[in-house]
Amino acid sequence: MLAKLAFKNIKKSFKDYAIYFCTLILGVVIFYIFNSLDSQTAMLRLSESTSSLMRMMEEVLSGVSIFISCVLGFLIIYASRFLIKKRNQEFGIYLTLGMSKRKISTLILLETLIAGVMSLVIGLACGVLISQVTSVFVAKLFEADMEQFAFNFSIAATVKTLIYFGIIYLVVMIFDVVMVGKCKLIELLQAEKKNEKIRLKNPALCIVLFLASVAMMGWSYWAVTDGFYTVISNRPLAFILVPIGLGCVGTYLLFWSISGMALRIISSCKNIYGRKLNSFTFKQLSSKINSMVASISIICVMLFMTICLLSSALSIANYFNNSIQKYASADMEVEVYRESETQKATDFEKIFSENGVLDDMSDLVTVSVYSDPNFNYGDSLGLALEEITAQYPYITFDAPIDIMSSSDYNKLADILQMESAKVGANEYAIVVNYETWIYSRTLELDSKMNIFGTNLSPNGSKIVDGFNIINGGAFNMGFFVVPDGIIKNEVPYKDFAVINYFTQEHDDQVELNEKIAAINYGGSGVSFDSKIRIKENSIGLSAMATFVGLYLGLIFLISSAAILALKVLSDTIDDREKYNILRKIGADEKQIKGSLFKQELIFFLLPLVLALIHTIFGIKFCLMILETIGVTTLLGSMITTCIIIVLIYGGYFIAAYACSKNML
């Protein structure tokens, strides 16, 4: 009997709570997809280093999953509280008919169980289907060859999803039962007639708190951008949590004070306030916001994090894909350090020829690197040293800086596809591409430098954008290019060879790389780097960033949007009577729907707008961190992020509006 009632109740309320069900299903889908990455990559051909990265990523993602399931748990508990509150009168009737509280609890238990099982089954089914599509995306991200398309299904991820969501639903059931147990019959029956009071806030307090919140956020904005080094100097790095915390408190206080003040300001503009249904619209909106200042603040912060996470994650992935093309522009590089000043230069061509690999090389360029013990990083920075030491107190600058001859550098520039450096008889050029160092170098562009005992002047006022070691990004902190004549009589400390192969096949290149690495070159030390290894390393980082960013970002986004949508729907049910009154006093359907639309639009936009303001500064901060790995712009990924937000958040808004319109 109870089961029948439970089924009927779910069927009846399905239309009203379609958004809730969809969010549950979406949550299950995302959870499954991100936890089934192992089976999605099972048919990919991955090299050993990539698969060890893969394992690490799975561990990170499963840690993130615990956090995610907490977020989802809160969302579901929050949502089910709405749903239970909506049905107070129904429960009141059950009680007056003589149903015991225990039976009502069982009823709710059954309903949660049915809804849970349904969402899990549908969600897992969708998850398995969608993961077939995402596996193609994953393969592309890992630049792995997909040997053949195979249907993948992860038992581990399924079991994990079942366990995690099982626990969430169990907690929800306990919450619901406790809630029902605490209810009083009279309150249940009269729930609908309860008077809503307009809580008027003290205007003076509102203004004070508003100013306080603006000050807090202003300081936090400054502290994470321009004032970062001032704030963080001489303090532990964890101090960065202070502006973040203050920003959150500021957000809450801002919403609290705005919800109190805005209405006063708008209602004093009689011409706007007294037009059509505006007075009603604003009052409704203000009571909506007033009743969930805390939730809106959390949503605002979650949206902010979503935007920052998604744009940073996507830009990291993008950046590596592009920068590998640019900065790992040769297939292989071999560096040999000389044992002593007397050792002869390594004859790479001869060695390669002896070992039978020369014929596989399409290009081979050998160059030498010098250093002047009397010319170190600190000297090369000149007067800018002081400012830089203040910025990077942990770095010492007394190591000698690299020096190359202009003919050697231009040979490199040719094979690595960089701009060449032109230096006159008594001139030098600085070659640098690391973003923060470009800035530092610019400070001292016109100083004379004493290199190998000769005074050299700069070759112009421009920095040469280049590097001499292939890498995953722009990490060259700087070296000098001087005329050949200056170093004619000096001895280089290392020689290196830059190599391109004829073959572009992955396996053949790996084989060649291994062969070259096995050769004995003599010298005091040898180091190798290949495009393939750089790729594999950076793919791991970019894939990790993409997955964690997408995972958290998507969950935050759907959670925020779902809470707002559920609030809008439950309010509409509460306010049906009000709209009937409006109809009775002669308001058009168009006006009524317009009022509803305005209320919901502003309600959805409010947290988003503040989140976007936060983002302006948050993104600057992200960029500051990402610059250290070479990312210089987030614009492209921010556009992608905006599209994702418009689609999901906007989709929830449209769905909420459509549902509430039908309820009227």
């Binding site: 008077n195 009689k270 007294g274 037009r275 059509k276 009603f280 409704q284 009775k584 002669g586």
Partner: protein, 255 residues
């Protein structure tokens, strides 16, 4: 006198073929401009259905209702809304004030819907508040008002738009006797000083005795009609009680 409201052979059926309820069974009546008419009947007699049909909230099964020469049974959609907000004023048993708006804003809303400017709204509200003696409670929210105050604010909202006819559905139903008396005196004053036409549905003989004419309805049909003429309210009240006794004496069952 000009006939403001004409109800011609109106019928309203509920239910289906097997179980047909005639809520209104061929009722015809008319109300002149400036009249204060009460419709009396027991619960289920069809008086509220009739009022809802006149109020364009419900549709008639057959017959015509003319207000100010316009047949409202043929109006549809936005024309109906326009007609309702320009020609009709409503007062309900449960006040139907918006809880989130102050008294002033509740009244202003009825004007705002008609695109009346904020300044004109203010003038009109001040004037009507003075007539109804609610100036001091205009800034209060409904939950801060007594039942009588709420109903006076609702009355102000109903007549501030200067409607052709004010329709009141059991306006004293949720009030104590003191507030009822005050409200009915307000109606009387509105009727006499502003010339408002009021059609009130009630099952309370005391409320009905404030009207200038009382129409009795039983089982969806007009049972009889009483004109107050020059009688005092007390005499008229006694006459009403007599008719109620004739009706079966059970009119006040619901009270």
């Amino acid at each position: 006198m000009k006939k403001l409201l004409q109800v011609k052979h109106v019928e309203k059926y509920y239910g289906n073929k097997n179980n047909l309820t005639k809520a209104i069974d061929d009722i015809s009546l008319s109300v002149n401009s400036g009249e204060f008419v009460a419709i009396m009947g027991a619960s289920g007699s069809g008086k509220t259905t009739l009022l809802n049909c006149i109020a364009t909230i419900d549709r008639v099964t057959s017959g015509n209702i003319l207000i100010d020469g316009e047949d409202i049974t043929t109006l549809k959609g936005n024309n109906l809304n326009k007609f309702r907000r320009e020609k009709l004023g409503f007062i309900f048993q449960d006040f139907n004030l918006l809880n989130t708006l102050t008294g002033y804003e509740n009244i202003a809303l009825a004007l705002a819907i008609q695109n009346i400017s904020a300044k004109e709204q203010n003038d009109k509200i001040k004037a009507i508040a003075k007539t109804l003696g609610i100036e001091k409670i205009l800034d209060r929210y409904p939950y801060q008002m007594s039942g009588g105050e709420k109903q006076r604010v609702a009355s102000a909202r109903a007549i501030v738009t200067n409607p052709k006819i004010v329709l009141a559905d059991e306006p004293t139903g949720a009030l104590d006797s003191k507030s009822s008396k005050a409200l009915l005196e307000t109606f009387e004053r509105l009727n006499q000083t502003l010339g408002s036409t009021i059609l009130m549905v009630t099952h309370d003989a005391f409320a009905a005795s404030y009207a200038s004419r009382v129409i009795f309805i039983k089982d969806g049909k007009i049972f009889s009609e009483l004109n107050r003429g020059d009688d005092s309210r007390k005499t008229f009240f006694d006459n009403i009680i007599d008719v109620i006794t004739l009706l079966g004496g059970n009119l006040n069952d619901a009270c």
